[in-house]
Each structure stands twice: as C-alpha cells, then as structure tokens.
Symmetry: C2
Subunit: 198 residues, 2 copies
DNA sequence: TCCCCTTTATGACTCAAATCATAAAAACAA
DNA sequence: TTGTTTTTATGATTTGAGTCATAAAGGGGA
C-alpha cells in the first residue's frame, strides 16, 4: 500500500519519472523540492565517507516514500538516493505536497507513522552498534527485516547481500560473512546456495 | 519555544506533572498513552544493554516534546525517559492529542519538522559511528550541539559530561576523555576547569 | 558458450578502542 | 566543614573487528 494514492497524487501535480538501475535521484547536499514515492522498483538512501565507504540509511520498495525529512524540515539532503533496480518514481512538487497534507489529515498522519517507524529503526540500529557484537547486530537486523516482511509460516529469505547487511549495520563484509557462517554452524540461521534464511 | 502552547494544551486535556531528578516517566516496553512536553527541566531518552551500558537516544530541554513516535505509530517505547533535573512535564492524553493535531495543521507540521530534525540527527550519528574515528565523531557531535544552541559570538560551552558524550556516540568514557584532551593539545577546542569550549 | 563482474569465502596480520585498575579533582549533600 | 559521590584523568593490557591479500563461486550479458 502506498502513502499517497496515484489519483490523489495526480490531482496535486504528481508526475512519474522512469529511472534505470543505479541512477541517482538526488545527491547529498541538494535541497529538497519534491515528495518522492516508489511506483515500481527500489531505492537506497546512502551516505558516503570521505574515503568512499557507504552507509545505507534506508532501503525503499514499491509503495514506499522516501526523502521527506529534508522536504518537511527544510535542510539539505543528508544522503543520496540511488535506484537498486529500474524504477518508476512518482513525485509531487513541494508546495502542492503541503497542500495535499493540509487537505488530507489521514495521509498526514500516515506520513507521521512512517517517520516514526523510521526513527524506531534507527534507535534499534544505534543501540545495537553501540552495545553489541556482530552476531547480535546481525540477528537484530535480520529479525527486523523479517518482521517488516509479510507474515508467513515459511522461512524468511533475506533479500540483501552480505555487503548490504554490512553497510546497514556499520561492519565490514568479511565480518558479516564470517559471522553468518558461524551462525549457520550454530544453527541460528540457514544458508542455501549462499542465500540466508531465518 | 514549545510545540504546543500551554493554553492550547489545557484546552485538549493537558495537565502538568512535577518530577524530581532521576525520576522515570516511562520505561522501555511501556505502551504510549500521552504526548509529553517539558515545561521546565530536562529529560534523557535512553536504552540500556543487557549488561547495563547506556545509550542516550536524545536529550530534551524546556519547550521540547519527546516520546511521540510510540504514540503516533503505536509501538512500545524503545527506551526509557529519565529526568536529568527536577522537572515539570506537560502531558496530553493520546486521543485528545490526535484531536489537537487534526484541528491545528500548523502544530501538526511543526511536529513533523521536529521528527525530521531528529531523523537528521540520527543519520549523522550513524554515519559518524560507522565511518570515523573518535576524534571525528566528537567534533561532529560537538558541532551539532553548537549549531542547535542560540547563536553567539562567544565560545560555546558544551553542557554535557564526557560520560554523556560517550553514551551519545557509542564510545567509552576513557576514550572520550583521552580524545578531548588530545584535541585540546592540538588546539581544536579549549578546556577550562574541565569544561569543554568550542 | 565464454567472459566479466559481483558476491561469497578464508587466512594472516594489525592496531586502535575497550577493558581493567587506580587515583585525583570537583561537585554536592549533610 | 566534612564526608560522599560523581566526574575527570592516566597507565597497562587485551582483544576482536578491520585490513589486506587472494581465490572460488555465481550471475548476467553478449
């Protein structure tokens, strides 16, 4: 389910962009002029260190919106948005988006819930990084991802590479690879064809 | 300036609690039933590790509200709130607070800005922790604190203990103490009577 | 099918922050 | 003023994740 339905978005000046994998929608430091929502595809919000390391601030999929904080609170984007796959992105100009919020209390409240959920995620990651060892961090991250996925009685297949897990939890790939391997040996998760199941 | 003015709060069922230093307003895991705003005093939101380490998710002062995410998005508090000084806390019951938001678009938007600013802070801390060494982390944290304080041509006195800085940036006190001392020797900040100025 | 690029994998080594211990200084309360 | 707690300070030691190097496996495109 998307935050803003397409017909509503169109009434408020919404338009659709077609992007290819690895396209950049906005860069760190840009000012925010649009509300963005994924119609099809996936996007990562990332920050880069001066020596090129990447930290994934968030991953977004069909129906998700992203990049609202700079829009709502008027600061520069703290990260860049990069498509992970070919994508169609719905965007609404800033002024019209504020009109939309004013006219639609339910959407406004839904947006709040999304921001709050994102804060919850960041609280979790921050606690994990500052308290615990790699295994604990990975378990918590995987459990979070599982909890966000549609409920199922099947094992949850983690849809991320070890590099992505590392970039989300502040560790190096090698550490993630080694830790996950040890966790499999201890029966804490399963690996099939290098894919992680929990 | 507070988010919700007192007369507005009172019209929506607001009441004031008097708390003493180190009182706990809510615990991690509690469900959220009130909107809270500081009338006087200061509060920290913290999470604890299983072995008692503390991570400070946020510090709040006069006029600030806190603990809204669990209220808006209906999840359990991810941390506990503890008063740092004797405090007077204004609270508004959940249902009435939603009414207040519905009736006051400007307040609703202001709340969004606060949530967004908080996300920005967490993005910053996360990038710092995962990319950089203690000195860089401390500089960024101190600069952030300075940028939030009222502008002045005087040096900014950091109103936090080294332990608090450590608990906000995922390091140990000893590391913060040593790093700050080295930074002073390198002329990157000043220390007077053990107080930090930047 | 072959080639290239990404991802996973593993061993050896380094090093910086955590940990542990201890104490001085400062802040606070009685 | 004294006694107690908190905060700052510093040295010695440990350790575990980062780094570096190298390679195998897998996936996608031409």
């Amino acid at each position: 389910m998307s935050v803003v339905k397409k017909d509503v978005a169109l009434r408020y000046g919404g338009s659709v962009l077609s992007l290819r994998k690895d396209d950049i929608l906005f860069h760190e430091g840009d000012s925010a002029n649009f509300f963005y929502q994924i119609e099809k595809g996936s996007v990562k919000m990332v920050t880069y260190s001066v020596d090129g390391k990447e930290f994934i601030q968030g991953l977004f999929y069909q129906g998700d919106c992203f990049g609202e904080p700079p829009l709502l609170a008027a600061f520069a984007y703290p990260g860049s948005s990069v498509t992970l796959t070919d994508s169609k992105i719905l965007r609404i100009p800033k002024d019209r988006f504020f009109d939309l919020l004013k006219d639609n209390f339910d959407i406004h409240l839904q947006l709040d819930r999304i921001l709050c959920e994102r804060l919850r995620y960041k609280n979790m990651i921050l606690s994990e990084i500052s308290f615990y060892d790699p295994e604990h961090r990975i378990i918590s991250l995987l459990n979070y991802l599982k909890s966000k996925a549609p409920a199922s009685d099947q094992l949850f297949q983690v849809p991320l590479t070890r590099q992505q897990l590392a970039d989300m939890s502040g560790m190096r790939v090698e550490t993630v690879i080694r830790t996950i391997k040890r966790m499999e040996e201890a029966g804490k998760l399963q690996i099939q064809d290098h894919k992680i199941f929990i």
